[in-house]
Structure formats: C-alpha cells, structure tokens
Symmetry: C2
Subunit: 338 residues, 2 copies
Amino acid sequence: MAESQSGGEFDLIARYFRPLSRAAPGAFALRNDGALLTPPEGAGLVVTKDLMVAGVHYPEGEDPAILARRLLRVNLSDLAAMGAAASAYALGLALPEGGAEAWVEAFAAGLAQDQERFGVALIGGDMVATQGPAVLSLTAFGTVRGDACLTRSGAGAGDDIHVSGSIGDATLGLRAVQGGLAALTAEDRAALAVRFRLPEPRLALGAALVGCATCAIDISDGLVADLGHLCAESGVGARIEADAVPLSPTARRAVGAGEAALADLVIGGDDYELLFCAPRPERDAVEALGRRLDLALTRIGTIERGQDVALVNAEGRPLPLPRSGYRHFREPAGRDAR
Amino acid sequence: MAESQSGGEFDLIARYFRPLSRAAPGAFALRNDGALLTPPEGAGLVVTKDLMVAGVHYPEGEDPAILARRLLRVNLSDLAAMGAAASAYALGLALPEGGAEAWVEAFAAGLAQDQERFGVALIGGDMVATQGPAVLSLTAFGTVRGDACLTRSGAGAGDDIHVSGSIGDATLGLRAVQGGLAALTAEDRAALAVRFRLPEPRLALGAALVGCATCAIDISDGLVADLGHLCAESGVGARIEADAVPLSPTARRAVGAGEAALADLVIGGDDYELLFCAPRPERDAVEALGRRLDLALTRIGTIERGQDVALVNAEGRPLPLPRSGYRHFREPAGRDAR
C-alpha cells in the first residue's frame, strides 16, 4: 500500500489503514511493495475482485462506512460462492482530489467493523487521486482444501436448485434508498434498505457446500440471470417454481401493496444469497445444513436437459419475464434505470 | 471476471480477455466468481496492487496497448522488488461509459504481448462503467520459497547501496512525451519516452537477490524518495555519491544540453529500477550477478547510522535537493506539475 502516494496519502494510509493490517504479519504493516500470503499446507487460494464506482454502483454521498462494508461483503460473497474461507483483502482506492480525511476515516472504520466480523485483514493496496468519481476496488483472498472449490459448471439434469435466505429484498431496498415504496411503513423501508446496502456473505454455507453441491453462484445479477450463468456454464436448463421462491415477510407486504411483482424480484440483483444445485440424494443433507446454520435453504426448482431457464406457475405454465440481468445504479440515457 | 457486467461487458470479456486466461486452469476461463491459485508446495504468494488513473498517471489518449503493458509492468516491478517469480494477475477496469470496443481490443493486445514475455496469465477481475476518467487496477501474484521475500526493512549500517540500470530516463521520457527536450534529437527523445512508457520490471534480478540483498525497493517515487523509504523502514541513514549515480548516455546528453540537472534525475520517479542494499562481503556476488544478467548494477553509496539521506559530491559535500518524491502526472493547481 506504500506505492505511488503523495505525502498526504502516506499519512492517511499510516493513520487509517495500517491498523487494519495488524492481524496479517505478511502485510508488513503496509510498508512494503507488496504482501506475502502463506496459505496452509495443501491449501488452494481463491482470489476475487469486484469494483464499485460512485454514481454507478452506489449513490454519491453514500455513507463511506457502509460503502466500505458493502465493497468488502460483495467480494466475500464471491469467496462464499466458491466455498472458500475468507482470509485477507487488498484495497485499491481512486478518490476525488481534495477528498476529505473524514471520508477516509469513516471508510476505514467501516472496514474495521466488518474485518473483525468476518475474520479478514487488510494486506495491501494502492490509493491514488482521480479527477472523476471515486472508484473502489477490492481483491479478496480465501482458502480451500487443495483444489476443492465450488464452480458454476457442475450442475446435472435432475439436480435440485436451492437458494439461501430470501429473494428480492435488495431490489426493494434500492427502491427504498431512492425514495420509493411509499405504500410500506418506514420500518419496512429501512429494513429493506439494509438488505441492499449491507448484503450478508454466506461464507459458512459456501464452505459447507463443498462436496455436497454440484455448483454454486452468488446472486448479484438477479436470480434468473445468475441461474442462467450456472446453466450456461453447466450446459443445462432449469425450471423454477414461482411459488417456491422464498420472499421475506417484508417483500410479501411490498408485493401485496402493489409495490412490486414477483417477476421484478426474481430478476432484481444484489441479494448476494447463494444459489446452488445438489443431487436429490443430498436433500436431507441440505435440510440439515440449513438447520445447523439457522439459515433458510429453499428448494426452488430442478435442473433439466436443454438450455432454457423457465419460471413456472403452480400449473407448470411459464410466466413471462421482463429483461433480466444486472443493471447499473445509473445508466446511460435510453436504458432502464432501476 | 464474470460479475456485475452488463451484456456488452460480458461480450468484451469473452472476446478479448478470455483468451488471456488460457494458460491458467484456475482462472476457469473467467467464467467463475473467482479464480483458484495453487502455489507450489512450500511456496509463499506475493501480492501487489497498483492503480493508474487517466489524466493523473498517464495522459488521456495514450495508446491502450502501452497502458496495458505499463500497468502490468509496474505491478511486476513490485513483485521483482520482493524477489518473487511472477505468475498471474487480476484486472479491474472502470472505463468511461460508451467506451470503444477498439480501446478494449488494443488494451487486451498489449496484455497478450507482455503476458507472453513475462510468463503470466490473467486469472480474473471486474470491468465496470464510470462517468469519469478510466481507472485501471491490477493485482499481480508471484511466488517465493517459503517466506523468503525481500522487504524494505533489512538495511544495516555499512551496507553497500546498489541500483540496477540507469536513473532518470523515465523523468526525461515524461518530458519528451509532453513535448519537451527540444535540445535532443528526435531519436533520443523517442528512446527516453519508451523508458517512461514501458518500464522494465527487473524480475530476474529481484529473484536472484533473495539471500544476498538485505533489502530492496523498486524506484517508482524517485531514487532519493525510495531510498528514504528503505532507510525509514530499516531505521538507518544513507549517503549517495552523486558522481556514482548511473546515467544513460542519452540522459548524459540531456544534462550536457542543459535540459536537466542531476538533481532532477535523482528525485524523478518512474524508472522502476531496483534499489537494494547488500553487505560489503557480497560485493563480488553482486558484480557476478550483474554480469550473469547482463544488467548494469552500480554501487552508488553506503548505508549509515542515523536517518538522513544525503547526496554528496566528489569532495563529500552534500548537494542541495529540491522537493523529492512522487508527483502525479497532473496535479491540483498550486503544486508542481511535472
């Protein structure tokens, strides 16, 4: 983290980021050109990298502590989807020139809070100035035994499709953040906003799924789009039962109040729940796992031959789906803004 | 590399970046949430991350292939400074909305060229849109035996200070890129510009220095500033003999023509040569290493007790140094632009 900084950036790194590296001896207190990771004997290292851009992935003016935690969590969610135990992360911050120290302080405080919670440490990175909006980059590291990680490509026809937690809360949460959902109570809106702003990486679930699930992905682009990714990489199709898709009580109220349709929720992104497949004989094991983790794991459909992803109603008839997939927080004119 | 992308970004990744991941099975052809690195038995993994911002670290309009190679090389240079063998990298691109496919194609072509040269492969990353200038982030991975990496903190009083290659060419090269150095020939200006735009990571040297050097750093902020970093981390001072600082014939011509003073060159950044210390008994070994690598290794001074970094003339008198250290390509009004 000690490269390419002007004097002010050196000071900020020393004051706010160095303390975040304390638990990682290989971070050299951010005083080196790089960090040294020494994975346990026989371990494989899982690496993932996600960026967030001000005005695109989050509204300008968002609380820096929330941003920091969200940036860390979306990356940890990728580790979870691969079944890895999270260990460390590196940070790349391009911040507007003349950026306030208070912003960095709050950002680092957010990291400190979630570092402790998820057992990871900062090992390095870079901080530079930009003339444009902030660009926040994070590279997260985790470990698996040998090469035993989950991928997107192992689903087979007949596999059950499971999903953790509830679907669509983040989509509704973004609407709440943007001032929508007038038909809900302030309490409901606040609860949904938290689900958008602070996703919960399903690390314990991901690690426990190694050896049981045939494939996994975290839902960032939306249930339908991400199931599409799984199917494409596995060379299969899928059928989801609309009635089986788990909604939170709050999301049910939103649907009941006419604030959203189920179709909006299954194509909306940012839930960061895990979507995974497992052979039918693993059904009991998956149920037991959900009980052990105290986390809802819901069977929502079946992998099929072919390549279509269909959402069907109770009579088995396909329901129409609007354009699916991830859309940026703010998009160029002429495309849907969500 | 398959996260958070809209349709167009998926296509660009598949077309231009997927081929760059071919040599790395753990990259899963960029189809996964992350990559799997399996370091050799007993190896430590070195991680480094550097960002470049358009208009700050390089002029807008720079050839994307050159940018890609420079981004990779400055990160590989950090691996070199730690004595690591380069193995892989992850990419984080925030590109202006509506960015041309031709830009991505040229950027990927630059990566392809240098990947082959340095024996590394793309293992993942993220590509997103920004409303501001491009922000290019790269995380590079290398391996060392166990925890045997070079750091900045081992210099001891009496150690020789060595530097690879020649100093100041990149500073002059930036001036050439900006239209300066009128007193030099077009050929000289072009040669210097290459030294700025395409630094040479000293990977073979770095790896060979493990067990011989007491500390090392790559010169990004400038010889004086980076020596200052080494000294600060090692708790020592240093004395450099001005006449010993190795200049290229072209740089000598620039100094002779009054285009630059030696002081400008020792404080200028971006050379990406290695600066390292070694005990006097290693002098023969360092000389032999230079011959073996066909790379100039020049002894330029001595580590001393204390904490001052001095540049002295032939009579041992300190020479004055202007403000030293890294400065961005473009800086806020009121500070020096270089």
